[in-house]
Subunit: 308 residues, 3 copies
Amino acid sequence: MNHLLTLAELSVDDVLAILHEAERFANGETWKVNKQTFVANLFFEPSTRTRCSFEMAERKLGLEVIPFDADMSSVQKGETLYDTIRTLQAIGVEAVVIRHPSDHYFEPLRHAIDIPIINAGDGCGHHPTQSLLDLMTIRQQFGTFIGLDVAIVGDIRHSRVARSNAEILTRLGANVLFCSPPEWQDTENRYGTYVDLDTAVKEADVVMLLRIQHERHDEKMGWTKEQYHEQYGLTIEREKQMKKTSIILHPAPVNRDVEIASELVECERSRIFKQMENGVYVRMAVLKRALQKGGTQNGYHIQTCALA
Amino acid sequence: MNHLLTLAELSVDDVLAILHEAERFANGETWKVNKQTFVANLFFEPSTRTRCSFEMAERKLGLEVIPFDADMSSVQKGETLYDTIRTLQAIGVEAVVIRHPSDHYFEPLRHAIDIPIINAGDGCGHHPTQSLLDLMTIRQQFGTFIGLDVAIVGDIRHSRVARSNAEILTRLGANVLFCSPPEWQDTENRYGTYVDLDTAVKEADVVMLLRIQHERHDEKMGWTKEQYHEQYGLTIEREKQMKKTSIILHPAPVNRDVEIASELVECERSRIFKQMENGVYVRMAVLKRALQKGGTQNGYHIQTCALA
Amino acid sequence: MNHLLTLAELSVDDVLAILHEAERFANGETWKVNKQTFVANLFFEPSTRTRCSFEMAERKLGLEVIPFDADMSSVQKGETLYDTIRTLQAIGVEAVVIRHPSDHYFEPLRHAIDIPIINAGDGCGHHPTQSLLDLMTIRQQFGTFIGLDVAIVGDIRHSRVARSNAEILTRLGANVLFCSPPEWQDTENRYGTYVDLDTAVKEADVVMLLRIQHERHDEKMGWTKEQYHEQYGLTIEREKQMKKTSIILHPAPVNRDVEIASELVECERSRIFKQMENGVYVRMAVLKRALQKGGTQNGYHIQTCALA
């Protein structure tokens, strides 16, 4: 089954193949399913970016999206996730995209469900399409991952982005640096080296800021927003220390003037909105991969001129 | 007006015609509206199955579905259901599917609204498309209804499924048995005979389990889940007493290990997910019937090969 | 940028051009975008009419609507409206329709966002497409605005309809009368003359009733519904005093037997449901205008026979 649950399950070749396909979509190539094909997006947590991005990717592939509203679903009557997905499958849905607050919600589903599941985020676990769009954005800039220094800054411990990215970047040949308040360091994540922020900013080719996820913290954090910005945020002063060719990433939504100075969100080296654009292409590639079973081409390509 | 409000209003011939049409859809036949046609699904209660099933049926017929979110609608500002539907009609909607918590919500609408209304469930009243999909599933197994013993087990009194099914099954020539805790017997429903569960399980061709609808009970029920399962549930032991050719139905969502042992949900004689699949075909047939006014064919057939 | 934020920003010629285009759509003309084009509707307040009407208009133009659920969006995580719209733009959305509870929410966006924004209502501010559909309905009846007496009755102070309509009607040559409880008069709106209700009803060509917006009042109003109806409502007796050719408008949802006697909602001179029908045509015209940049025709016309 062509699930996409975590990047750790993919070989480097698989990852590069997805990035290659995404780049083709970015260059204007089109692929459409050749029969009416239904998918559903099951989002059990708030999301604008990821949800709209999947929807856009699906529509661009000619897929029909069956609306699913978690608040109005039978999950409210105690139905299990397995039964919900089996129901959608019985009705005719051919792939599901799921975001869920529980880490590894997909483990009981992995071998039990025989339509593709695409993980759009599991609790503090993984977020593979976010990682893929980060990788695509980095590769567009540098052409390679080998030897790049990538600094991941912020709440390393609770971030699915940090977890997914550090592992795959390391496998792709990049060198990962972590910067984090001591409370948010993640001793179980062995794919990065902790350094202080000013070192990281000066040395990194990519400064990847993590969002403070107020909604995932039971305890209050010990700083004001201003203090966090001063100590762990990308201030206007710090940005000036970055190397000429270095770029800024952030998974968004941005807490302006906390993780990053508001003026920098759309500065020349920021790729924050570029990441969102790339997200659509990456998700098109992932969906195409999921729907192509056993090598049969379940759609058709249209070669179009590049989009500028 | 081609409303579908209760099955009691349909003749046996009408019911059989819908089932026949549904079977054609199940065999791969297609019918598409031949102009842009808009419908809306007004769900004032949570639902996955019925809502997604209607949406799927609509899309398969080429209909465009105008999203309607009860929580974000003017019903929140006190608008009547009549005014809401008239509004949708003024805007260009040509049929509405409605689920509503009030029994017989449709009575003030029946003669006042001149676009078809399809009842997707009214309180403890009726749920005609659920009955139709049950009938379709039974007929696929036995080829007929005449002389079949159908046991309906559970909360007979609060169940719109029990109400709709007992009446139409009796008219179609089946023999209906009811099994229910004394508190949930329905003395007004004269279309079945109360028997004890073990008798029913042994004799019935169809064992139709009803969901415990916690959300419709003001009072607490007097049993634990384990006690209910032991006394009124289809346990693994009881399933072994069923006749070789008998089948199990459940309208879902299933409370696993309450109405039915979890291991039995997908057992060989279970038709629970088959019911959901049939639901799409039944709703396609009902929508087609609703949109064909005065004998004019408002669409076109495509004869395709059977879908296996 | 072809935003539509307030009617006050449009010339009389612009307004008449939109009305002319809407009338062509009402007469059965079709215009479709000639490539896959995405829009999003951002509704931060409940709405049936406006939301479904925009959705219908969009679908009729062949646009694809990316679902956006304010309750499940990152706005819940504190994202600014600017960042949300920029995100949608990055993802590929080419126009946004916004309803928001804050007056003038669009001011920080006006020069910062370079896809068209269509205002579907801002707090107690403006509601330009509602005004346009009122104008279209009036012009269908009288062929002109010059010299017409238009009475606007109700909560003048909190009504975005009153604000938008009084200004544009005056510019178009009509004479605006206001009727309002003293507490709800609006001394800053200089485009109308306060008269008593019975005078207005007798003299006006158009009696435009405003909805009592319970949801916008912090304080309780000093009357019962019956008292309001008696003093400021269109009772059955008052309707008899209207001129033969005069018409009744109401933006809906109607509070029946408060602003207007329930029996009058669909009386011969009521245009309340006609307004809703016209709303779709007006929104098609507005969306077409927004998507046609720099004179390039981003779609194609189909001349069809008139409907009706």
